[in-house]
Symmetry: C2
Subunit: 427 residues, 2 copies
Amino acid sequence: MTQRINLPEIGLPRIVIIGAGFGGLRMAMKLKGKGYQIVLIDRNNYHQFQPLYYQVAMAGLEPSSICFPIRRIFQNRKDVFFRVCEVESIDSQNKKLNTNLGVVNFDYLVIATGAKNNYFGNANFEKYSLPLKSVSEALFLRNRILEDFEASLLEVEPKERQRFLDIVIVGGGPTGVEIAGALAELKKHVLPKDYPELNLNEMDIHLVQSRARILDAMSDKSSLTALDNLANMGVKVHLNSRVLDITDNEVTLSSGDKIFTKKVIWAAGIAAATMPGLTDDSYHKNGRLIVDEFLRLKTSESIFAIGDVAFVEGINGHPQVAPVAMQQADYLANFFIKLLKKDTAHKKGFTYLDKGALATIGRNKAVAERGKLFLKGFAAWVMWLGVHIYFLIGVKNKIVVMFNWVWAYLFFDQGLRLLIKPKIKNN
Amino acid sequence: MTQRINLPEIGLPRIVIIGAGFGGLRMAMKLKGKGYQIVLIDRNNYHQFQPLYYQVAMAGLEPSSICFPIRRIFQNRKDVFFRVCEVESIDSQNKKLNTNLGVVNFDYLVIATGAKNNYFGNANFEKYSLPLKSVSEALFLRNRILEDFEASLLEVEPKERQRFLDIVIVGGGPTGVEIAGALAELKKHVLPKDYPELNLNEMDIHLVQSRARILDAMSDKSSLTALDNLANMGVKVHLNSRVLDITDNEVTLSSGDKIFTKKVIWAAGIAAATMPGLTDDSYHKNGRLIVDEFLRLKTSESIFAIGDVAFVEGINGHPQVAPVAMQQADYLANFFIKLLKKDTAHKKGFTYLDKGALATIGRNKAVAERGKLFLKGFAAWVMWLGVHIYFLIGVKNKIVVMFNWVWAYLFFDQGLRLLIKPKIKNN
């Protein structure tokens, strides 16, 4: 497609930002009114708050509570242009992007496309597992869980019923742990009341972790606390265990164990979400874009990358987490602001300030650490709640999420067990 | 399918209720613990609050705020069995229902399937218009409106752009009036801020009514007030106007006018939602099931019908509105309770108590009437809000809807402009 996308030239240098996640959106917000034309591109018309996808999947929160319409953020702005489209390729030579809606030219390009699931090249993993990398996928997972409970009611054969009830979660990082804990709480507090016809003892929740510890990016203390919590909640944790194969009925582990289930949740790893057009030497062997300490692509003067997709050479990359993306967004926004003032003081490369890590396991159960500091239980859990509310975009979202949490805490109830499916026509 | 659905016999007479709308759900709630086995069937796992669909479509409320999980209502009950399925036919001779999941037998059957859109036999009306008879359809409509605004940004040709911006609403009943008013408010308060690139004067909202008055089930006062309000809000109301044809680009009215638009909302009429298996003489010529004053089908001793689908012979039917369905549910539940007590006192037929009618046009604008009483403006609007909150199921839903209304009232903002689309896999 050679048609140009309808986008006025406003006489300012144009920065195109691909991706309205933690990094891209924050850059656009910092750069508004600073003398650039900002063109923000995303495939959705909203920003999604990734750390709470799992609560959407567990029917604890609505998608709308953790999403925010991007146009709302840039209301009335004459220098920020938002377009909902998919980028198809980058033409770095001619400083152009090809999108499904047409061509967009740029003076500077910031790639903030984040990460996608890593299935390690196994087609079955991708085909038969349920991902959780967007609110749409979270909703789909919620519907699958609810559908399978309905289906289990109809199944008189215990073995067959088990395939609907059991759940396998692959990956023992924060997402896997959070899902496992939330499912255990659903099983304990909600499902027995909703399904008095079922014997919930038949339902097993499996967490499969390839390494020796869950939460292995955190300390031993955090890891053991989480393991202890999950075990107490009845989750079957398989350590040092890899998934060898997944079919639509069964998961085979490296131990030889087979788990009969139709429901496998994939939380095992991420890969950079890249796109065609850049030369091969732009990529590190891990798939991320190699940038220098100023976050500039080593293969192009005018292209930058931040967040999960960027790999800062020399320091061997940063962890693929939201705080890195946000700090890089701040750094790069400042760079552009200074650039326009011909300020040459901006000589210092990006450095990441690690503010610690948090993970929640369930009601009153979480771990938090920062350097040598370690918290667990209720205190860590409240800290987890507070941090997530703080970073969530939108005052109304903050209120709604808090209200939902208070409600769930008081009444032991995930209220949103609604199997709302897309339908175009009634007939 | 001859397989029987997994449903235990519990030694009580079985009442099967088809449909968990205003009538069916209320009957099930009244009959729990009264000595029957209640089997409630719906195609969704939730009850939907139809009067607020239009607010979901207008991005003012989330589907979850006006839906309630049916299992939540019957938690821990041993006499109420809920199944998510579609009824395929009724076998009144053998007292059996055929569903997509298998056969269900009944001692008594209550048909509470409500109504569907009436396209008056015109295939184009059905194909090219957007319905609003479920939350799924409301979400679809919301997405279409948002998509079309995004598309209009990309269109440089004014005539083409108009097709994305203009909206035609067919039907001047409460739903049509409410949608027209809500769209006019979006156009005034929200869209100019979200889309500073667009000239919103290009956007026209058309309301097409076949009769001489809008809200023609209400009094002249209500009708004229609503017309006046809509005109002040910039809605173009076409009275005495019928739609002759709809294509994907154009609506042709009986006046000869053609409106260029891709977006036609269908609110023009409803037809009873019936199903195969009953003899032709069970139906009135308007498509509703003929029942006697005891709400019993004239063609079967053990089958009853309530709500929009039922047509009480002799009194020439009741209006197809929620209060009728609820009053009929109460009446029929009482009948069954007395039946079990061998109480023969239940000789009095159903009578409908008309408690009046309400319609809202917009912020501080509504009409309410009861007999000779008439209210308009702020007082009627507050009454409208109160009545809807009162009948909404679920304390949490009531709180969330009220919070959303207060927020929208204070900040002139429909917060949920999220184009969240179903997606299974990310890749």
